[in-house]
């Protein structure tokens, strides 16, 4: 059985034509987009926010390979993490897949993959997010 890592962060597709997306909040007053969503706009404190599906593609801002076990983290090293900047301007802290430390380049296009990131105490598969190098140059 699979469970999302938290409620309200990931929108799973309702039909085969759709793809999963991360869910953020967008301020109707100033346009600022936040992930995860907030109660009020981080920029202007406006209250008129809407939930939006975020772009599936973005640029790799930075990355590293974590080689030590971190208290609190449910994954074992080594693993690749990165920050991906979306066209909306928000930067997503994320696990990376389909690449290694040597092949990655800052600035390259990355694409969202919703996948199992660890198993919880009751052996349920927990769904989180990773970004992997994009296959093509299609706009998000």
């Amino acid at each position: 059985m699979q469970v999302p890592i938290a409620e309200g962060l990931i929108a799973m597709p309702l039909s085969p034509a759709e793809e999963p997306r991360l869910i953020g909040s967008k301020c109707r007053s100033c346009g600022e987009v936040s992930f995860p969503s907030r109660l009020r706009c981080r920029r202007c404190s406006g209250s008129d926010l809407e939930k939006v599906g975020l772009s599936r593609k973005g640029r790799l801002h930075s990355f590293t390979t974590v080689l030590v076990k971190l208290p609190g983290a449910r994954v074992d090293p080594p693993y690749l993490v990165g920050v991906v900047e979306l066209p909306e301007g928000e930067r997503i802290r994320t696990l990376l897949a389909g690449a290694d430390q040597e092949s990655l380049r800052i600035g390259q296009e990355m694409e969202l993959a919703v996948c199992v990131v660890y198993k919880d105490e009751s052996e349920k598969e927990v769904l989180g997010w990773k970004f992997r190098p994009a296959d093509d140059g299609d706009p998000a």
């Binding site: 890592i5 938290a6 962060l9 600022e32 995860p36 981080r42 920029r43 801002h61 930075s62 990355f63 590293t64 390979t65 974590v66 080689l67 030590v68 971190l70 208290p71 609190g72 983290a73 449910r74 994954v75 693993y79 993490v81 990165g82 920050v83 900047e85 301007g89 928000e90 930067r91 802290r93 994320t94 696990l95 430390q101 800052i106 990131v117 660890y118 927990v126 989180g128 997010w129």
Partner: protein, 374 residues
């Protein structure tokens, strides 16, 4: 508001003391500060105690070692900026006239292992977010943008460890080379062990008082706490909890309160939780122009023998980092240097103006800067 006089200071050794309780470590630093100030515990009218790791009523646990006097004890927590937060509260109490003699302190007994403490968000659970990976990526990005070289970052660690080796209270007394830093254990590329500060046990304390009280205990010139600026974040797109804007904003406020500029400083103790932080903070605190941070280590400006010594104490990297104690320990170092009591690491020129800076909470949630004036 009136200035607050720094009447006394006290600091424990920093390191690993699992056999000693945190409240004994804390009370030891308080007793040192009381002795240094020439006052008794019963003279203290209020206590501001910073801690991150040791549970509730930490200040009262320290107070219980010293004799119950019924004073108000305010416990504060602001991660690595906890020390400055206690100084902020203590300064406000004296400067506003609310109390004439207060204690501001930080104490910490920390679990072994990597500097952690990020909130348990989905991103931390799945490993996508941690202080170590954040700083490794900061280093990676800085190298990509050609802002700093890995050698310049390593030079910060070499410098601060060299200073720490001259400080009897330091956790580490290591004379490192650039190669030692580069070849220490890889934590997260390109971050190796000696680019990161340790976790530590330790405490630091200061007695703050009004000028009227200070005159009863000694002759001027006094060493004053000339203001403490404490800020949370303003909005920065895409980079929640980055240290850049908050440090620039807090520094501007601190300089304004003290009526000085960065060019007037004689000594700086800043938040070198990672080697790259020191280079970034040089620029954010206005110690050099934007983009010139690396030059300050290249040309030796920030060595003990340089024009503007930074982290003469050994910094967090070398002296150790008991989270909430660090800010107050920075103040202790500035005062020792001003009094000429810094032993082997004493700066030769006269020290009149100093600054003590820490960021806290994912490093960019809080920022505190204390201005110290002789």
């Amino acid at each position: 508001m009136r200035e607050a006089v720094i009447l006394g200071i006290g600091m424990s050794s920093f390191g690993r003391f699992p056999e000693v309780s945190y409240y004994r470590i804390g009370a030891g630093a308080v007793l040192d500060a009381l002795q240094d100030a020439g006052i008794a515990w019963k003279d203290v009218r209020a206590m501001y105690c910073a801690n991150t790791n040791n549970g509730f009523c930490v200040g009262e646990m320290v107070e219980a070692e010293l004799g119950h006097t019924g004073i108000p004890v305010v416990n504060v927590q602001n991660a690595c900026a906890g020390g400055q937060t206690a100084l902020f509260a203590g300064y406000q109490a004296v400067a506003s006239g609310a109390y004439d003699i207060v204690l501001a302190m930080g104490v910490e007994q920390m679990p072994r292992g990597a500097l952690v403490g990020m909130p348990p968000t989905p991103a931390t659970l799945m490993g996508a977010e941690s202080i170590l990976s954040k700083y490794a990526m900061k280093m990676q990005r800085a190298i990509y943008e050609r802002r700093f070289t890995l050698d310049q970052m390593a030079m910060v660690s070499v410098k601060n460890h060299a200073n720490a080796s001259l400080n009897s209270r330091s956790q580490y007394k290591l004379n490192l080379t650039l190669e030692d830093v580069h070849h220490s254990r890889m934590i997260a590329n390109p971050l190796t062990l000696y680019h990161a500060c340790p976790t530590s046990d330790g405490a630091a304390a200061t007695i703050l008082c009004s000028k009227g009280v200070a005159r009863k205990h000694g002759l001027p010139p006094f060493i004053n706490l000339a203001g403490v600026a404490l800020r949370s974040q303003t909005f920065v797109r895409g980079d929640p909890a980055d240290t850049h804007e908050i440090t620039i904003n807090t520094a501007a406020e601190a300089y304004e309160r003290a009526g000085i500029g960065p060019e007037d400083l004689d000594i700086v103790e800043l938040h070198d939780n990672f080697s790259i932080s020191e280079l970034e903070h040089y620029e954010e605190l206005g110690l050099c122009g934007k983009g010139d941070g690396g030059k300050l280590v290249d040309d030796g400006t920030t060595k003990i023998t340089g024009r503007l010594p930074v982290n003469a104490s050994g910094g967090l990297l070398g002296k150790g980092h008991p989270t909430a104690a660090s800010g107050v320990a920075q103040l202790c170092e500035v005062v020792w240097q001003m009094r000429g009591q810094a032993g082997q690491r004493q700066i030769a020129k006269e020290i009149r103006l100093g600054l003590a800076h820490c960021n806290g909470g994912d490093q960019g949630m809080a920022c505190g800067i204390a201005m110290i004036k002789k």
